[in-house]
């Protein structure tokens, strides 16, 4: 139970800081800021929580239990950061599902869905986001990849091609 208490305290405090920070001012590079906040903040808060456990008269955590807490913070952070991609940018698939749900029992026609998609310029928004993040360069009417390697994207493509052996398709 002490592991749960320590993990819950650290994540709860970090989430409160995250909400306060984001409401006061959005960081320019939101996902890297989240990683720094949750992983760095976890390291900073661990001694504070350890002191709290001691002050409350509870049994101190062993080094293995602290590793378990670290794994919990890491797992939650990774899960939250990938979820955050869907928070900062709307998912076309999830948006479509919600639009169809609004249609109720009568359903939704392709025309209505086309109208819905036209009101949401996903591609233009993604291009702008990629330029803002520094991944794309726009010179005149053409787009180029920036010089620095985008490790996450490379990993995703490598995994898809060589581990899952899936064809390159989708939309």
């Amino acid at each position: 139970m002490n592991v749960l208490l320590a993990l819950g305290s650290i994540l709860g405090l970090l989430f409160v800081v995250h909400l306060a920070w984001w409401r006061i001012r959005l960081p320019q590079r939101q996902r890297p800021a989240l990683l720094v906040l949750f992983l760095g903040g976890g390291v900073v808060l661990a001694p504070v929580v350890a002191w709290g456990v001691h002050a409350a008269g509870l049994q101190p955590l062993s080094w293995i239990q602290w590793l378990n807490v670290a794994l919990g913070v890491l797992a939650f952070t990774l899960a939250y950061v990938v979820t955050y991609s869907a928070l900062e940018a709307d998912s076309p698939t999830l948006s479509l599902m919600r639009r169809v749900a609004q249609g109720g029992g009568a359903g939704v026609t392709v025309g209505q869905l086309e109208e819905f998609m036209n009101e949401r310029p996903f591609v233009a928004a993604r291009l702008s986001a990629l330029i803002e993040e520094g991944m794309l360069l726009e010179r005149g009417e053409r787009f180029f990849l920036a010089e620095h390697p985008y490790t996450l994207f490379r990993l995703v493509l490598f995994h898809r091609r060589y581990v899952l052996c899936l064809p390159e398709h989708g939309g």
């Binding site: 899960a79 787009f143 990849l145 493509l157 989708g170």
Partner: protein
Amino acid sequence: MADDMQMEIFQLLHLAAPIFALAVMCLVHSIWCRRSPEIPGLNALAGSGLAGMAALGAVQLALLALGQPWREVIVASLWIDAPIYGCLAYGYANFVNLGQSSVRIRIYRELLAAGANGLSGDFLRGEYDEATMLRVRLSRLVSAGDLLDDSGAYKLGRRRLLLIGNCVFGLKKIVLGRHTEFSS
């Protein structure tokens, strides 16, 4: 002394359980995708996620067999091991899904293939226009059973993606104070 060592073994097994379960999930998913690429992506992920959950359960049974009291096993598995595995599995599922449906990754792939010449804005906008995105997504959602094509009218099939969508859009409202990036 023996009790301390036994306690450390229990703690180590609880620490390793979610990692082992994730490894099983990744392995099963990889085998599934290689052997049956026609299976909808979400189904393969859900199936391999269940395989990982079974592996997590197997570790808990091993802990019981090694003598950890069943109350401790239940509390640790329900409140710590399973949520940590859930987060890891969710992260893996999103990582896989990025390669399938992320517009950003697909644009990146096109530009990587284009090399030093880059690509024109007209080409990218034409290749990834909203009509194409709609067509590909409708086809994928219908084949996975998430939508039903009822003579030209699309209706809800399975509600799992709607549930995820409602959670994501609700969280967006809490964190960012808005429901959609396109709201003014």
